[in-house]
C-alpha cells in the first residue's frame, strides 16, 4: 500500500534534465536511492461530465494507460484512492464520451453512477507522461518510499508542457521516515513543493476552467440598471447555455445536453413573453416564432428520452406482464428516437438555426449598446413577478374538483412563468428568501407536472399502441403490458389530482404569499 506523502515540482531553470534524471541529490545520509528504475510512458485522461459533476463532488476520475494495461482510478481531491478498475484488454477500449453503463461492473462504477447519473463521461484533459520510479532506502537498505518523477505533456485540448513533478509515496508503516526524506528532498535547490495536483496543473496548462459550465442563469443584475439591459444580459446568457449544449445534442452524447438546451429555449421564450415589453416590439415579434420553432424542434426527442429514461422503472412496476413482453415497446421507442434525433440534428445544423444565432446575438448587442433609461430593473422585475404571481393565484383558486385537465395545464404554465421570472431576476433577491419562495413553488410545480406528464404520456401511449398495431410491430402481450403502464399512469395522475388542493393551499396561504411579496419588495 502506498500513501502519497509530498509532491514537488522542478523549478523552470532546473527543469531541463533528461527524463529519469529529474531527482535531485538527497543530502540526508540516512537515506539513499536505489539504482534508477525504468521509465515508462503513461497516457493519462481525466474525465468528467459536461457540467463537472465529479469536480463539484470533490472527485477526480483518471484513466491511465501504459503498455498492455489500462486502469480507471477515482480519487478524492487530496489524492486518496476511492476505487479503481482495471480495463481488461479483451473487453476492448472504452470510447469516450461514454455513459457509466459502459464501465466494468464494480465499486468504481457503483460509486460513479450515484454522482454522474445519466450524464456521459467526457475527456477533460489528455496528457502523455514519462514516469520513472525509484526506491528510496533507509540505512537497512529497506524500501521506505517510492519516488516517482513525472514529465507530463498535455496533448488535448491543446498541446502544452507542465513542470516536472516528483512524488514521494510512503510504504505502509514507513510514513515517518518517508516524511523526513520528503523534507530532505524539499530542501534541495531547484525544487519547490507542488501547490497543485497533477490534474489541476494539467487543467491550468490546458486552459480549462473546472466548473465553468452551469445551466443556471448566473448573471449579476442590479435594481437600478436599465431593465432592457438586464433582459438582454439574461437573454445573452441563456443563449450561451443553449449554444454550449448544441454540439453535445447534435452528437447525442447524453440526454442532458438536449434537456439543458430545451430549458434555455423555454426560459428565453418566457422572458420574451413576460419581459419583452422593454425590448423593441419588432425584435420580440421576429424572434418569438423563431424560438417557438426551435422549442418545437426539440420536443419529440425529449419526450422519447423521458420514456426511455423511465423505462426500467416502468418495467419494474409491471404486475401481470414481464419485462421481455414490454421489450418491443422499448425497441419501438428507440427506433422513433433515432429518427427524431436525426431530424433534431438536421434542424440544429440548418441555415435557419445559424441565422437565428447570428442575428439574435447581433440584435441583443445592439439593444445592449443603447438600452434607453427606463424602466429600472428592480421596479420592472417586481412588477413582472407580482403579475405572474397573481396569475398563479387566480388560476389556482378557480380550479375545483370537476375542473378539466386543461385548467391544471394552464396553471402549470403560469407556475413555470413565475418560476422563470424568479430565476431570471434571482440576483436581485435575498438568496435565503429566494430559496424559500422557489422551494414552495417547486412543490406545487412538481404536483402539476406529475398530473400533466401522466396525462400526456397516457395520450401518447395510446397513440404508440395504435401505431404499433397498425405496423404489426408488436405482439398482443406487448400491447397488454402497455395497458398495465397506462393503468399505472392513470393511478399516478389521480394521486397528483388529489394532492393538488393541499399543495395549492400551502402556496396560496398568507405565509406563502408573503414570501413572494417579500421578494418583490426587496427587488423594487
Amino acid at each position: 500500500m502506498l500513501n502519497a506523502v509530498r509532491e514537488f515540482v522542478l523549478l523552470p531553470a532546473d527543469d531541463t534534465r533528461p527524463p529519469g534524471d529529474e531527482l535531485p541529490e538527497i543530502t540526508d545520509s540516512r537515506y539513499s536511492v536505489a539504482a534508477s528504475g525504468r521509465s515508462r510512458t503513461v497516457r493519462r485522461t481525466w474525465l468528467d461530465t459536461f457540467d463537472w459533476r465529479l469536480f463539484r463532488a470533490g472527485l477526480n476520475l483518471e484513466q491511465a494507460s501504459g503498455p498492455g494495461s489500462s486502469e480507471l482510478m477515482l480519487t478524492a481531491r487530496d489524492g486518496e484512492l476511492i476505487a479503481a478498475s482495471a480495463l481488461t484488454p479483451g473487453a476492448g477500449p472504452i470510447r469516450w464520451p461514454a455513459l457509466v453503463d459502459a464501465l466494468p461492473l464494480g465499486p468504481l462504477r457503483e460509486h460513479l453512477a450515484g454522482i454522474v447519473g445519466v450524464r456521459a463521461l467526457l475527456p477533460v484533459v489528455r496528457a502523455t507522461s514519462v514516469r520513472t520510479e525509484q526506491r528510496a532506502l533507509n540505512a537497512d537498505a529497506k524500501t521506505i518510499a517510492i519516488l516517482t518523477a513525472e514529465r507530463m505533456t498535455i496533448t488535448q485540448p491543446r498541446r502544452a508542457a507542465t513542470p516536472s513533478r516528483i512524488a514521494v509515496s510512503a510504504l505502509r508503516g514507513y510514513q515517518a521516515q518517508a516524511s523526513k526524506l520528503a523534507e530532505a528532498i524539499g530542501q534541495a535547490p531547484g525544487i519547490a513543493a507542488a501547490e497543485r495536483s497533477a490534474f489541476e496543473s494539467a487543467l491550468r496548462a490546458a486552459g480549462q476552467k473546472p466548473g465553468a459550465y452551469t445551466s443556471k442563469i448566473d448573471v449579476q443584475l442590479t435594481a437600478d440598471m436599465t431593465a432592457a439591459l438586464a433582459v438582454c444580459t439574461v437573454l445573452a446568457r441563456l443563449f450561451d447555455t443553449a449554444q454550449a449544449n448544441v454540439p453535445g445534442t447534435i452528437r447525442d452524447v447524453d440526454s442532458e445536453f438536449l434537456h439543458d438546451l430545451r430549458i434555455a429555449i423555454r426560459r428565453t421564450r418566457s422572458v420574451l413573453k413576460l419581459a419583452g415589453s422593454v425590448l423593441p416590439a419588432s425584435m420580440v415579434g421576429r424572434y418569438r416564432p423563431e424560438f417557438k420553432w426551435l422549442g418545437d424542434l426539440t420536443t419529440p426527442t425529449r419526450d422519447l428520452d423521458v420514456y426511455l429514461l423511465g423505462y426500467p422503472e416502468m418495467a419494474n412496476k409491471l404486475v401481470g406482464a414481464i419485462e421481455p413482453e414490454l421489450r418491443p415497446f422499448h425497441d419501438y421507442l428507440s427506433r422513433q428516437r433515432e429518427a427524431s434525433q436525426r431530424q433534431l440534428a438536421r434542424g440544429l445544423r440548418s441555415a435557419r438555426f445559424n441565422q437565428l444565432a447570428d442575428r439574435w446575438r447581433h440584435d441583443l448587442e445592439e439593444v445592449t449598446a443603447s438600452p434607453g433609461r427606463r424602466p429600472a430593473t428592480g421596479r420592472f422585475a417586481a412588477g413582472r413577478i407580482a403579475r405572474a404571481h397573481q396569475r398563479v393565484l387566480q388560476g389556482g383558486s378557480a380550479i375545483e374538483a370537476t375542473s378539466p385537465p386543461q385548467a391544471l395545464h394552464d396553471l402549470r404554465k403560469s407556475c413555470k412563468e413565475l418560476r422563470y421570472m424568479l430565476e431570471v431576476f434571482a440576483s436581485l433577491h435575498d438568496p435565503a428568501e429566494q430559496w424559500r419562495a422557489v422551494n414552495e413553488l417547486k412543490a406545487l410545480q412538481d404536483c402539476l407536472g406529475e398530473f400533466q406528464d401522466t396525462e400526456v404520456q397516457r395520450t401518447e401511449l395510446r397513440a404508440f399502441a395504435g401505431q404499433m398495431v397498425a405496423d404489426r410491430s408488436a405482439p398482443a402481450e406487448t400491447i397488454l403490458a402497455m395497458g398495465e403502464i397506462a393503468a399505472e399512469l392513470a393511478a399516478r395522475q389521480r394521486a397528483a389530482r388529489t394532492e393538488f388542493a393541499g399543495r395549492f393551499a400551502d402556496f396560496a396561504s398568507p405565509r406563502g404569499q408573503a414570501r413572494i411579496v417579500a421578494l418583490t419588495r426587496t427587488a423594487a
Binding site: 500500500m1 502506498l2 528504475g37 525504468r38 515508462r40 503513461v42 491511465a64 501504459g66 494495461s69 486502469e71 479503481a84 478498475s85 482495471a86 514516469r131 520510479e133 525509484q134 526506491r135 537497512d140 537498505a141 529497506k142 524500501t143 517510492i146 516517482t148 510504504l171 505502509r172 508503516g173 514507513y174
Partner: protein, 268 residues
C-alpha cells in the same frame, strides 16, 4: 482469508525459510499476503530488512491496546506485508493467559484483517505452548517441515494427535520433507516412503541447499533473489501443494490492480 502456519515443535527445521518463500510466492501470484513473524528471534523480519520492533510490544497487541493493523509494515514486494517480530514476543504465553479466551485470542486478533488480506502466513517459534495452541486454532493449514529422521516423524504424529483432540475447527496438516540430504541413506528412504504412505505429507521435498542458507546474506526470499534456482523451483512446487490443500482460489476480487509503473511482484 486463509491462515497458513509454518509450525513445528522442533527448531532449525526450515520453518522460516518455508514461511517467507511461500508468503512471497503467494503475493507474486496476486494474493494479498500478510506474514506475521511470531518468533522473537525475528529471522523473517531480518530477511525482509524490517526492524523487529512493535510499539507497545506483544503485550499491547495481544491485549488489543494497539491494533494489529497499526504495526504492519510493507515489504519491498508488492502485495506482501509483514507484521514484525518483537523481542517481547518471548512472553506471549503470559499475555495470552491474561485474556478471556486464551486459546483463540490470535484468531480474534486476525479477524479484522479479513477484507484486507487473502492469506496470512504465521511463522511460529518452535515450542508446544499456549502460543502454539493459538496458532493451531487460528490456522486453516499447518505447514510442518520435517527433517527426514525417525524422531521427526514421531513429532508429526504428536502434532496430528494434538490437533485431533480439538473441538470444532481443526487445521488441515501438510507436512513436507525439509533439509533433505540425498547423500544420507535414511533421508532417501524416508523421503521416498513417507509421502507415499501418508496423505498429510507433501510430494515436494526441500533439499538442504546453499541458496536457502544464503537467504540471510541476500536478505530476501530465494524465490525472489534467485527465481530460477533449484531452491526457488522446490518452494514453488511446495506452494502449489499448500495452495491447493488450503483451497485458495484467485478470484477477480483478489486480483490486484497494480498502480501504473508498479511491477506486480516486486517494487521497482
Amino acid at each position: 482469508m486463509k491462515i497458513l502456519a509454518a509450525y513445528n515443535i522442533k527448531g532449525g527445521v526450515g520453518k522460516t525459510a518455508a514461511a517467507v518463500n511461500i508468503a512471497y510466492l503467494a503475493a507474486a501470484e496476486g494474493y494479498r499476503v500478510l506474514l506475521w513473524d511470531l518468533d522473537p528471534q525475528a529471522a523473517a523480519s531480518f530477511l525482509f530488512r524490517v526492524r523487529p520492533r512493535v510499539k507497545g510490544g506483544g503485550k499491547a497487541l495481544i491485549a488489543g491496546k494497539r491494533p494489529v493493523d497499526d504495526a504492519i509494515k510493507a515489504t519491498d514486494f508488492e502485495n506482501l506485508d509483514l507484521l514484525p517480530a518483537d523481542f517481547t514476543y518471548r512472553n506471549l504465553d503470559l499475555h495470552l493467559d491474561n485474556e478471556r479466551k486464551p486459546a483463540t485470542r490470535l484468531r480474534g486478533l486476525l479477524s479484522p484483517l479479513r477484507r484486507e488480506y487473502d492469506l496470512v502466513v504465521l511463522d511460529c517459534p518452535p515450542s508446544i505452548s499456549l502460543l502454539s495452541e493459538n496458532v493451531l486454532h487460528a490456522a486453516d493449514l499447518l505447514l510442518v517441515p520435517l527433517i527426514p529422521t525417525t524422531l521427526s516423524v514421531r513429532t508429526l504424529d504428536q502434532i496430528t494427535e494434538f490437533v485431533a483432540g480439538f473441538n470444532g475447527k481443526r487445521p488441515a496438516i501438510l507436512a513436507f520433507i525439509s533439509m533433505f540430504d540425498r547423500r544420507k541413506r535414511l533421508h532417501r528412504e524416508i523421503a521416498e516412503s513417507l509421502p507415499a504412505e501418508r496423505r498429510d505429507v507433501a510430494a515436494t521435498a526441500i533439499p538442504a541447499l546453499s541458496a536457502i542458507e544464503r537467504m540471510s546474506v541476500q536478505r530476501a526470499p530465494v524465490a525472489a533473489s534467485a527465481p530460477r534456482s533449484q531452491a526457488a523451483r522446490y518452494y514453488r512446487e511446495l506452494w502449489q501443494e499448500a495452495r491447493d490443500r488450503a483451497g485458495l482460489r484467485l478470484t477477480s476480487r483478489t486480483r490486484p490492480t497494480a498502480l501504473p509503473g508498479m511491477a506486480r511482484s516486486a517494487r521497482p
